[in-house]
């Protein structure tokens, strides 16, 4: 494997990724949620830039939209993009978490959430995972009909239905379903032997740092949009101490 472009701390993931999201056009509150999702991905030992940069590009290039409407239809809550574009996962993710939060004390386990035509389905799993709620299954079918699913639980535990971390497996917009599952589901036969992530991954990454590869320049480029060019005047008077101090 190539050497990483940079090794970041979690704090830097939050700093750079949330501001990159602002640079891509996300309001700050949603950008913070994006930062948390990025940390969740990084804590699994995965490259957060690889998994998130396409969602930023989709928004920046106006292929995805932050405009959506949410309706309740019996046990199903449906989130649909208001226009022709795909629904940005950067709005859909926090919307799912808000729904989970609002339903937190609801005993009706049959309720579920459907987000239609989401640009990057895995980002919904990242949003739900970073929310650190009880156990949830996030699933979608790709264009060939293959089922993908992520099972999230509290304390940073999660599993994927696929073994490889290859992001190309998860490309393409899809309808995503999020449903509550029993805690015991984590150890059910269906999920036995699946790729598993735990708090230990996070502890390991705390000791090694977050390795970020080829997609880092994309994140940094969006991040840079939040910086203000320096002028002679701002250099002189925009910050504190003088430019030469010997005492």
């Amino acid at each position: 494997m190539n050497s990483p472009e940079i090794v970041l701390s979690f704090n830097e993931v939050m700093f750079y990724f949330s501001r990159a999201a602002v640079g891509a056009g996300l309001p700050y509150g949603l950008a913070e949620e994006f930062g948390r999702s990025s940390i969740w991905i990084a804590a699994g030992g995965l490259d957060p830039a690889e998994f998130t940069s396409n969602a930023l590009k989709s928004l920046d290039e106006a292929q995805s939209s932050l405009s959506a409407s949410q309706t309740e239809n019996g046990a199903e809550t449906v989130l649909t993009c208001s226009g022709e574009k795909t629904l940005s996962s950067l709005l859909a993710g926090p919307s799912v978490c808000d729904w989970i939060s609002a339903k937190d004390n609801d005993s009706n386990e049959n309720q579920h959430f459907s987000a239609k035509n989401v640009d990057h389905p895995f980002m919904l799993a990242a949003a739900v995972g970073s929310f650190n709620s009880r156990s949830w299954e996030i699933s979608w079918h790709d264009s060939r009909g293959t089922l993908y699913a992520v099972l999230t639980a509290e304390h940073g535990n999660w599993k994927t239905s696929w073994d490889s971390a290859d992001i190309s497996l998860m490309s393409g917009a899809a309808d995503v379903t999020i449903r509550s599952v029993e805690r015991s589901f984590f150890n059910a036969d269906k999920w036995n032997g699946k790729k598993s992530y735990s708090e230990k991954n996070r502890e390991r990454v705390l000791e090694t740092g977050v390795q970020v590869y080829e997609a880092w320049p994309i994140i940094h480029s969006f991040f840079s949009r939040c910086l203000v060019p320096s002028t002679d005047e701002s250099r002189k008077s925009g910050a504190g101490a003088g430019l030469v101090e010997t005492d």
Binding site: P27, E207, G240
Partner: protein, 570 residues
């Protein structure tokens, strides 16, 4: 998920000063160190747990340049200060973030570094922000010499003489730090890595341990240079003079956003301080010991303030008033009739509130806490948090509006339609990400301002809510208006933490960032605030604190209000 948090009514108990009173910029900008300040709690812990200090490596040449490793052994772990000192062009010496070279650059290493670690650091630490670090490094920092004092001290010691204490007092340090980075900056370890360790659990403990070790290094460095220069004639610094030397620090805008980004943490700091004060003033009677300690500290404070001289005219006027306040307090305290009545400490506070400037009042608070370590020191363990802001989407807009009216009236009373009320903005410059403070109507970049404008955003939120007739949920509202998500999340969280918000407008044309800096630095334990403009200040850290060698319990407890060493030690 959300924690169950106490309601604000339960947080601010009877006898505590209100958030409306405490969290105003004018009072925050008048803060003093207290025994709950983070440096004070660090030296208490060092003494209590008998930390052991060791000089592991000192490869420094006659001019003071080279590599050194100073270690501290705590009960469970060792931390090492790895320092590189270099020759630099005096004209390149600046305290700003935009600096490229420094006299000294250093890391706090988690453990004892190997030769390979030191080699890696030697390629990165001198570059500071342009270097990259690993989770082995807890802190990255740099410092510049006070050329005037460093050379004077080296020269005098090399001649077998002690330095001129008046000159020493006018500077206060041999070197001053210009940035101390922790919490994951530039690849260093995240706070999460050390947050559960008992010795680093408290706020800013690794950063201040770094500065404490570096202070020790600067004293040994100047003695080393003097010894190689003067040979057998050279002498060491008198221990009392060594103790009086602190570490300087130049603090600018970078520190200010921290206070706004961490509202729950700030609440916990202030809550601890106000709880401590309320415990003290609730005492109906004093003990001979506490009275004796107060009697001892009052003249120390008077002398400390008498020796506090700055060039800034506004601060000079404030210092002069504080000196008058302390004279009044001394006179009041000398009247035995005042000591005979119950609730002495509360009456002192009330006397200060009725007669003193804000600086005089806050200094009085510090004096009141000083004799009461057994009563208040436990609160130092409560000054951190892992609580983050959380959205409550099921809340209705009506309920949210009620929260705004109840807890954010200070913001709703500001007329943000007046351009002067939001003339200022905070931003990151493209140049080394230096935080800067701009004029919205004159400088470029206002559209990229940092999201720190709590008052204005609350005002805009309130206005938007009024324009919506349906009582929808917050969840539905933020889906339609995501630009309000961050401020709603903050409002919903901080209503449970009444000391969380600075209850003033930080965008106002008249706003002085230096008030924020002083507030935070006082919590660190800084003294001798020396404002150089409204944007930055110099301070001294650990002045008067005991050095690692021979650090006794009493020394670790009682080093507030340092003053110039007595004539006989000079």
């Amino acid at each position: 998920m959300k924690e169950i948090m106490p309601e604000s009514n339960n947080v601010v108990s009877t006898g505590m000063r209100s958030p409306e009173k405490v969290m105003r910029l004018s009072r925050m900008g008048s803060s003093f160190q207290t025994r709950l300040s983070f440096m004070r709690s660090l030296t208490r812990r060092i003494s209590r747990e008998k930390w052991r200090f060791e000089k592991i490596r000192f490869d420094i040449d006659k001019d003071g340049y080279g590599v050194s490793v100073y270690a501290v052994h705590t009960p469970e772990r060792t931390y090492s200060l790895v320092t590189f000192t270099n020759a630099i062009d005096p004209e390149m010496r600046t305290d700003r973030v935009v600096a490229e070279v420094w006299d000294a650059t250093f890391n706090l290493f988690d453990g004892v570094p190997t030769d390979s670690d030191i080699k890696r650091l030697s390629l990165n630490t001198p570059k500071q922000e342009a270097g990259r670090f690993s989770p082995s490094e807890l802190v990255l920092a740099r410092a510049n010499k006070s050329l005037r004092l460093f050379e004077h001290v080296a020269s005098r010691l090399s001649e077998g003489k002690q330095p001129d204490v008046e000159l020493l007092a006018s500077v206060g340090y041999l070197m001053r730090t210009t940035a101390v980075y922790g919490s994951g900056k530039f690849g260093c370890a995240d706070r999460e890595k050390i947050a559960k360790r008992p010795e680093t659990r408290g706020a800013f403990q690794v950063e201040l341990l770094t500065v404490y070790l570096f202070r020790w290094f600067t004293i040994e460095l100047v003695e080393h240079v003097a010894k190689l220069r003067g040979g057998r004639k050279a002498v060491s610094l008198n221990p009392e003079i060594s103790k009086y030397l602190g570490i300087g620090n130049a603090t600018g805008l970078g520190m200010a956003p921290f206070l706004i980004k961490h509202p729950v943490l700030i609440h916990n700091w202030v809550l601890a301080l106000e709880t401590a004060l309320s415990r003290v003033i609730a005492l109906e009677s004093y003990t001979p010991e506490t009275l004796s300690l107060f009697s001892k500290n009052l003249p120390r404070a008077i002398q400390h303030i008498a020796e506090w001289n700055v060039e800034d005219q506004l601060q000079t006027a404030r210092i002069l008033k504080t000196r008058e306040d302390l004279k009044l307090l001394a006179n009041w305290f000398a009247d035995e009739e005042n000591l005979k009545q119950p609730f002495l400490w509360e009456r002192i506070l009330r006397f200060a509130e009725s007669n003193f400037s804000l600086e005089g009042q806050e200094l009085t608070v510090s004096l009141l806490l000083e004799p009461h370590g057994e009563l208040v020191d436990d609160l130092a363990d409560e000054m951190q948090t892992s609580t983050e802001t959380e959205l409550e989407p099921s809340m209705s807009l009506t309920e949210l509006n009620d929260l705004l009216q109840k807890s954010f009236s200070w913001a709703l009373e500001i007329d943000f339609e007046d351009p002067e009320k939001q003339r200022r903005f905070w931003y990151y410059s493209e140049e080394k990400l230096e935080p800067r403070f701009g004029d919205r109507y004159a400088d470029p970049g206002a559209e990229k301002e940092m999201p720190l404008a709590v008052g204005r955003d609350v005002y805009l939120l309130s206005k938007k809510i009024k324009s919506i007739s349906a009582d929808i949920s917050v969840g539905a509202f933020v889906q339609k208006y995501p630009e309000f998500r961050h401020i709603i999340r903050r409002v919903q969280t901080v209503v449970r933490f009444p000391y969380a918000e600075i209850r003033d407008n930080i965008l106002d044309a008249e706003m002085r960032p230096i008030d924020l800096l002083r507030f935070k630095l006082a919590f660190f334990g800084a003294s001798k605030f020396d404002p150089k403009s409204e944007l930055w200040t110099r301070i001294t850290l650990f002045q008067g604190a005991p050095l690692p060698v021979g650090l006794s319990k009493s020394e670790a407890e009682e080093w507030a209000f340092p003053f110039i060493p007595a004539q006989e030690v000079r």
